[in-house]
């Protein structure tokens, strides 16, 4: 049985493309035959994914906040482009109906939704200054955070659904930006809850109002492919 530090080094060399073809093949074979190594690889991947998600979120916030404070360009365009930083890390197409691939693809959709939500949240923070009262802003921010993190999903979905219905009511005055974000995070909540049909239904509604939004189009495409 090898020392874990040797496994760590092998995993890192593989991930950085530093192994020869033969070494890679041997390593992949060993993973298939050695449950301990396989588990260590899984834990390694979780660490890397966690680091990428957290650091990506932090850095997007730095860039977005800087751009917002300088008022260089409208944030609505910026967050769409900036979420491509996160999207470039994760997007992959469904290849087969095998459960493992579907599981992986579900993960990709969730990760895309998580990363794209960073920009939506920043946009909301910027656009809601002075337009909605503080109590409502805090309530919405909490809801959006829960949606993004997949926390208290039942309550979050209930509340966002209620608010989403209100956004459709022409007699209720909800700012356009909030309406968009309420819809987006309701879709994200459904994604995190595993209800992809419902998520797609919401996304299709939003897409009809924002047909040029690249993130909406991207996640719509992923959901359509997944549900085929």
């Amino acid at each position: 049985m090898k020392d874990n530090s040797i496994y760590n080094e092998q995993i890192d060399r593989f991930l950085k493309g530093q192994m020869s073809t033969e070494e890679e093949q041997q390593f992949k074979t060993e993973i298939g035959q050695n449950p301990e190594l396989k588990q260590q690889v899984r834990e390694h991947l979780y660490l890397i994914r966690g680091i990428k998600q957290v650091k990506s979120q932090e850095e997007q916030k730095i860039i977005l906040q800087e751009q917002h404070e300088q008022k260089v360009t409208p944030l609505r365009r910026n967050w769409i482009k900036i979420t491509s930083i996160a999207a470039s890390i994760t997007f992959i197409m469904v290849l087969s109906g095998i459960e493992g691939s579907r599981l992986y693809y579900r993960h990709e959709i969730r990760q895309y939704a998580y990363n794209a939500s960073v920009g939506v949240m920043s946009d909301f923070a910027a656009s809601s200054r002075g337009t909605i009262d503080e109590e409502t802003k805090v309530h919405l921010t909490d809801l959006f955070t829960n949606a993004q993190e997949g926390k208290d999903l039942a309550e979050t979905i209930d509340e966002l659904s209620r608010l989403y219905v209100l956004t459709k009511d022409e007699f209720v005055d909800i700012e356009d930006d909030c309406a968009y974000q309420i819809g987006w995070f309701l879709a994200v909540s459904y994604i995190n809850d595993g209800d992809y049909e419902k998520a797609l239904e919401i996304i299709n509604n939003i897409e009809s109002e924002y047909p040029d939004n690249e993130d909406i189009k991207s996640i719509q495409k992923q959901l359509v492919e997944f549900l085929k």
Partner: protein, 202 residues
Amino acid sequence: MKLNSIHSITSSELNAFFEENRQRTLCYLESRFPVLQEDDIEDIFQDSSITLFLKIQNNELLDLTSSLYTFFLSICINIARNKVNRSHPTYLLSDNITDSDFEPIRNDKLEELENLVGYEIAEEQTDQEYLNWIEQQVREGVRQMKPPCNQILWSFYWDGLSHRTIADMFGMKSEDVSKTQANRCKHKFSDFIKKVIASYER
């Protein structure tokens, strides 16, 4: 435009970014460009900070494919090279002096491994709620990492720096020290993951 004047107009997040990364950047530049004086190194850091600030303002970071720090370090390296070439024209600066500093994780290799081992943390665990919860806990674990673990692991996996570079940046004796410390940190994280899995209540 001097860095002091930038502080008054940049966001607190960007200022914090510069402060957090200042020391390791200065150490790195000193080790790679020994012909430069301390004042030169400080100037390079300031000029690079201004350059980064202006690039963000001009929306030039919208398609960033590296970490923000790696991008910033590249700016520092370019400015340092120009400074050496201008102020020490007879000094032989190797073209590939910084090549071995960057060893990013390849996304294709990451995907390959993910496909190979599956996404679930354990063979039988495919429940979505469970996976969501695990991911949340992992993110929280990463956020709560303390030095030197966060310094080493974030530099290695997010900034894509080699252990040699990390050792130079954080004043470690050798790259082996960085590797050993990284293994300890990963072992700690592995213990953390096991506790998280054990604590999950359905």
